[in-house]
Amino acid sequence: MKKEFRNTLILLGISIILFVILTILMDSGILNIYYSRIVILICINVILAVSLNLIIGVTGQLTLGHAGFMSIGAYAAAMATMEMNLPFPIALLFGGIVAAVIGFLIGMPTLRLKGDYLAITTLGFGEIIRVVITNIDQLGGGRGLAGIPPKTNFSWVFFIMVFTILIIYNIARSSQGRAMMSVREDEIAAEAMGINTTKYKIMAFVTGSFFAGIAGGLFAHYLMYIKPEQFGFLKSVDLVTYVVMGGMGSLTGSILSTGILTILPEGLRFLNDYRMIIYPLALIIIMRFRPQGLMGTKELSMKVFDKFSKGSDK
């Protein structure tokens, strides 16, 4: 069997088992509403982190405006269910597509820039998106948009998360994915090998924006209330932190660090005011001893499966 296909099946299997366990825990009340909320937020953050990892980790383009695309998806999907009465899945898809289209329009001119310049331009676009939404009265403006129907539940979030991970995993291991990685490693060398670097950068950017938009839609239909400040510069920075701490290009790393960094501030609640002092200190200590991120560029346990299958192939 092809390696990617087999890994996909293994991932699917693991996630179904995980889903059953978590659903049982939630239904039986062992995980109360507070914990379920954290689990759902982790899933949404994982979608965001994994999609951002395609742009930052796999393609090596630092963007600081990912929350902007999330907000576009959130508002577009909310409008789709509230004003157009579209069914939830189509509204999510609509949010994703709108985010992807705007991602394409923004990516076209900006992805010619490199490194810090790209970071600052995407940051600028993220802020512009926020300011524009704040000024559109139909979207609630600065007051925020309330009364979004509560459609997001655990099953939706979980399976969309699994779907996102599978898609990004397979993109990263396809020939397009290898082209993206060559852009990350050395753009000039990649160009010399005949790779259309702009095309692959835009491809990664648009795919990332699409999934960010879907995550935004899920987020809006879970909280039932969104406002522009939720998707500011600091949210983008949080997402970049998830990716960098997990390790560039490592999807399992992103998942792991998103889990840790979403739980950590909640778990530190007993420290009250000291919570937000311990959190950055923990970040500094982790980066001090693991500057390449928790997982580096490696994926968790895939090697174990390889050894396992080599044994069985004989």
Binding site: T110, D116, T121, E127, V132, N135, A189, I277, P280
Partner: protein
């Protein structure tokens, strides 16, 4: 007349942005990294000035000096914790530690003071309106502009006329070669952080006087805009940061008055994006060919 009035408002804000932007540019010039905690060093400086004037009842100049000293110390601590141990790590890891330092500073100040905005003491620099040729000019704005110009002149003197300045320029040109010439690169980097942070601290006090209110999160937006200013002028170039800061201040003020106050941030960022797309190295930046 109204135009001139607004130009003065814009210039005083622009000079504050400029002296923050110079700190970004100096640090970038020497280590090639954006100091994400710079906006919070600016905030710490504003609080040091606040503390000096309310608790120690000092005048304007001593308060300003204390703010600069406190911010410089803070900047050096940021460098020692977030930058020095990771000097050979991937750039993005350092970005994360710098962001963590920024969150840490915000929350330390929040814990020590309060989250609520504090009124900056009026007595620090009493307001006096000067009527001149039909304009009513706030003396504080003039003082802010003069102090900023003075600081830039002192900085130019340090960078171009002293031995430390020569070492700084050498280290920003080629760190390894500078080390071979007997320059202690580590201490030069610390000095650069200290000078840049002292300027940010002065900026914090001036900003506090200009807006008469400070809070632990005040550094985020001015920091971001000063950063934009540094990139706009060409990052790593001190006159560029000055020019970028002035442009940002003027654009923000004029767009607030003549276009829309709610869109002024978006307009400032749009200008940056247009300039970066047309001339990616910034207004005064030199075009560098990438060598393979």
């Amino acid at each position: 007349m109204d135009f001139l009035q607004q130009a003065i408002n814009g210039l005083s804000l622009g000079f504050v942005y400029a002296i923050i932007a110079i700190g970004y540019t100096m640090v970038y010039g020497i280590i090639g990294l954006i100091n994400f905690a710079h906006g919070d060093v600016f905030m710490v400086g504003a609080y040091f000035g606040f503390f000096a004037s309310t608790n120690l009842h000092l005048g304007f100049i001593p308060s300003l000096l204390i703010a600069m000293g406190g911010a410089a110390l803070c900047g050096v601590i940021v460098e020692k914790i977030a930058y020095k141990p990771l000097r050979n790590s991937p750039k993005l890891s350092i970005l994360i530690t710098a962001i963590a330092m920024s969150v840490l500073l915000e929350n330390l100040v929040r814990l020590k003071m309060t989250t609520d905005p504090q009124t900056y003491p009026e007595t620090l620099l009493p307001q006096k309106i000067i009527h001149f040729a039909g304009l009513s000019i706030d003396n504080r704005q003039i003082i802010i502009i003069l102090i900023s110009i003075l600081l830039v002149i002192i900085l130019q003197f340090i960078v171009f006329k002293t031995k430390t300045g020569k070492a700084m320029r050498a280290a920003s040109f080629d760190k390894d070669a500078a080390a071979l010439m007997g320059i202690n690169v580590n201490s030069i980097i610390s000095i650069t952080f200290a000078i840049g942070s002292a300027l940010a601290g002065a900026g914090g006090v001036l900003f506090g006087i200009l807006y008469s209110s400070i809070d632990p999160y005040m550094g985020i937006m001015p920091g971001l805009k000063a950063f934009v200013a540094a990139v706009l002028g060409g990052i790593g170039i001190i006159p560029g940061a000055l020019l970028g800061g002035l442009i940002m201040g003027l654009v923000e003020t004029f767009s607030k008055v003549y276009i829309s106050s709610s869109y002024s941030d978006a307009i400032a960022f749009s200008i940056l994006i247009i300039i970066l797309i047309v001339k990616p190295s910034g207004l005064l930046g030199k075009k560098t060919r990438e060598k393979v």
